[in-house]
Amino acid sequence: MATQRQQSSNVPPTVRAAIAENFDGDAQLYQAFAAACAAQFAQDVSIGQAGCDVGDLPALRRLAHNLKSALTMLGHDDLFAVAQSLESQAAAGDLLSAEASWRVLRTELSRWQST
């Protein structure tokens, strides 16, 4: 019981809020989704980097669009904001800004995979 309370207190408030609001309070479903996302982020990093290397803004826009919802569902509003910026910059054809946003997103997604 004490361990459960300890684990529960280790969960960041944003994640607790995401479980309550986006997963109907179902922590198991949240964890299963988070695990699936972590596995997919490796693919996303490869796709995003390939797009960035050749200046493929439509590819970056699609990727950012898909990441946006996953990140907000997981309770990572800071990364959601980066993905949203990337999506807007790619849509506007602003390659320099899109590259900068992508670098931030790539770092965070790569860190996520290794945790």
Binding site: N22, L29, F33, M73
Partner: protein
């Protein structure tokens, strides 16, 4: 693949005489003739015209599309002890986001284990798979590669057979961003993706039949 109709000489016609008529293509894809015509107009299927003005669908183009559909074809259905195939309810998800494909799969497995979920990554495969499966419920994202979701929805709603399916739209777009798709979303339930877990099960419970005793027995055996 972005070829338009073009007139051909009689020599060329004889070389590719094994191409399909629009009707044959529609039957092979399980779609209406109109949907096939629209796919040709959009350059999603290659076609040409006979000297008499009849449209022919290039065999290679059609086979390519069918191969794409087969990649997403359904797994074998559960069979009863008497060997008869049981008709489990079918839900078709058309969404290119792997994250959301996984989320919907997890949700369906958890809350609707008696339902077969089928997934298409893009609008073209989704349209063809819809014709094959005739699912009870169709879940469509608005922004899709190939045919976008709004065009797909408009095309599906023009089908008489679509009257048998329920459609729900899922999207990451917020309300102002959806304004340009209003023509397609009229009178349809739209779920913002972050609300999917809380809102989708309620709709599915309303639309999908409760599992029968016989189904439950067969699945358990």
């Amino acid at each position: 693949m972005n070829l338009q109709d073009r007139a051909m000489s009689s020599n060329e016609v004889s070389e590719i005489s094994e191409d399909y008529t629009t009707l044959e293509a529609a039957r092979l894809l399980g779609m209406s003739v109109r949907s096939v015509q629209l796919m040709v107009d959009r350059g999603e299927l290659q076609a040409w015209k006979t000297p008499g003005g009849h449209r022919r669908i290039a065999r290679a183009s059609l086979e390519h599309l069918r191969a794409a559909v087969r990649k997403t074809s359904p797994p074998p259905r559960h069979a009863s002890s008497k060997g008869a195939t049981l008709e489990r309810p079918r839900v078709l998800l058309i969404d290119d986001s792997i994250h959301f494909q996984k989320l919907v799969s997890l949700l369906m497995r958890q809350r609707f284990p008696d339902v077969d979920l089928h997934i298409a990554d893009d609008g073209i495969a989704g349209l063809a798979l819809y014709g094959q499966l005739q699912p009870q419920v169709l879940i469509v994202d608005i922004l899709l590669p190939g045919i976008d979701g709004a065009t797909l929805i408009t095309s599906l709603r023009s089908h008489p057979q679509f009257a048998n399916s329920h459609l729900v739209v899922v999207t990451s777009l917020d309300e102002p961003q959806r304004a340009s798709y209003a023509f397609a979303l009229d009178q349809l339930p739209v779920i913002h993706k972050p609300r999917l877990v809380t809102e989708l099960p309620e709709l599915l419970m309303k639309w999908l039949p409760a599992p029968s005793v016989e189904q439950g027995d067969a699945v358990a055996s």
